[in-house]
């Protein structure tokens, strides 16, 4: 198992932990953290893929994609935080309210 494969395996684990947290944690802040964990796993995949061949300089194209992705995830997280605050203001809770049952 070379270096890149170790990173890929770690990325896989991080992604799965993040996804599991996203679906099981009801608290909105925890959901956001889980989403970020999932995203970090994806970034790790790109960084690992960028230097799969040992000894060579890393490929700048996947690195540029990760850099773009980080900015996107920062904006998504910030928007999520703003929305979570709005939920807190409107409902007083930190979890999403249960879906409204449609009228029969």
């Amino acid at each position: 198992m070379n270096q890149a494969e170790i990173y890929l395996a770690a990325a896989l684990g991080i992604m799965l932990i993040g996804l599991y947290g996203l679906f099981t944690q009801p608290h909105l802040l925890r959901k956001l953290i889980a989403l970020n964990l999932f995203g970090s796993g994806i970034f790790l995949v790109y960084v690992a893929v960028a230097r799969r061949i040992a000894g060579e300089t890393p490929d700048p194209v996947p690195h540029a994609m990760v850099l773009t992705g980080i900015v996107i995830s920062v904006s998504a997280t910030a928007l999520g935080l703003v929305l979570a605050r709005r939920v807190k203001t409107l409902t007083g809770g930190t979890e999403l309210p249960p879906p409204v049952e449609p009228e029969p």
């Binding site: 996804l19 599991y20 998504a76 203001t89």
Partner: protein, 223 residues
């Protein structure tokens, strides 16, 4: 019931993980050498750092949309928390003096560092996003220390919110006049155009990040 949900979720995730693992294993042994293509075209990019060349020239489309997404997030935050009031002045008066003093010392340094990072982006790691986040951090510090009035900052930030995206869009569209494709900079001016875009983007990114922070900390009255 909840237990059943978790078991199903775990099974789905295991299947997803297995698929991903299969994909990783089946990656080609010798990956395509995009790095070589980048190196071969470096003299046409107008900069000497490969990452900056990819970000702002070869894959400039990504970066243009990236700034667009950032702008969108800033606008959405404004829309959601626009009516919210920021901390009133009376509360700001009892902020710790150490924080105030620190901010006064740090702010000029932050601005200088931000523009240094922006400037070296053409030949070293650095660039608009790193510089913009440093400016944004400065903005957050200013808000925390209450050095500036929330409402006035908000107005100023709104003014430069879309500046970076606008300049980027204008440049990328203007180069089309010479029969070139979108974002295809003329080679002699590529470095200058990239610097222009990065300067505008740095200001906007700093403003958007500060606005996002303001949106998160803003005090809201329950309606």
């Amino acid at each position: 019931m909840m237990r059943l949900h978790r078991v199903i979720l775990a099974l789905l995730l295991a299947a997803f993980g297995w698929l991903l693992a299969r994909a990783f294993v089946s990656l080609p042994a010798s990956p395509p050498h995009l790095a070589d293509a980048v190196t071969a075209q470096m003299d046409q990019s107008g900069v000497t750092h490969p990452l900056t060349a990819v970000l702002l020239n070869f894959r400039g489309y990504d970066t243009l949309l990236e700034i667009g997404v950032l702008l969108l997030a800033g606008l959405a935050a404004l829309a959601v928390s626009g009516s919210a009031t920021t901390t009133p002045r009376a509360e700001l008066l009892d902020r710790p003096a150490v924080l105030l003093g620190l901010v006064r010392v740090l702010m000029p340094v932050l601005v200088v560092v931000a523009f240094y990072i922006l400037w070296i982006g053409s030949y070293r790691p650095g660039g608009a996003f790193q510089a913009g986040s440093i400016l944004g951090a400065g903005g957050v510090l200013l808000v925390l220390a209450g050095v500036v009035d929330g409402a006035r900052v908000r107005l100023a930030l709104r003014m430069i919110l879309g500046f970076g995206f606008l300049v980027f869009l204008l440049v990328s569209a203007t180069v089309m006049a010479g029969g070139r494709a979108l974002l295809e900079y003329p080679v002699p001016y590529a470095g200058l155009l990239i610097l222009l875009i990065e300067c505008a983007a740095t200001l906007s990114i700093g403003a958007i990040l500060t606005l996002l922070f303001l949106g998160v900390v803003a005090k809201e009255e329950a309606s």
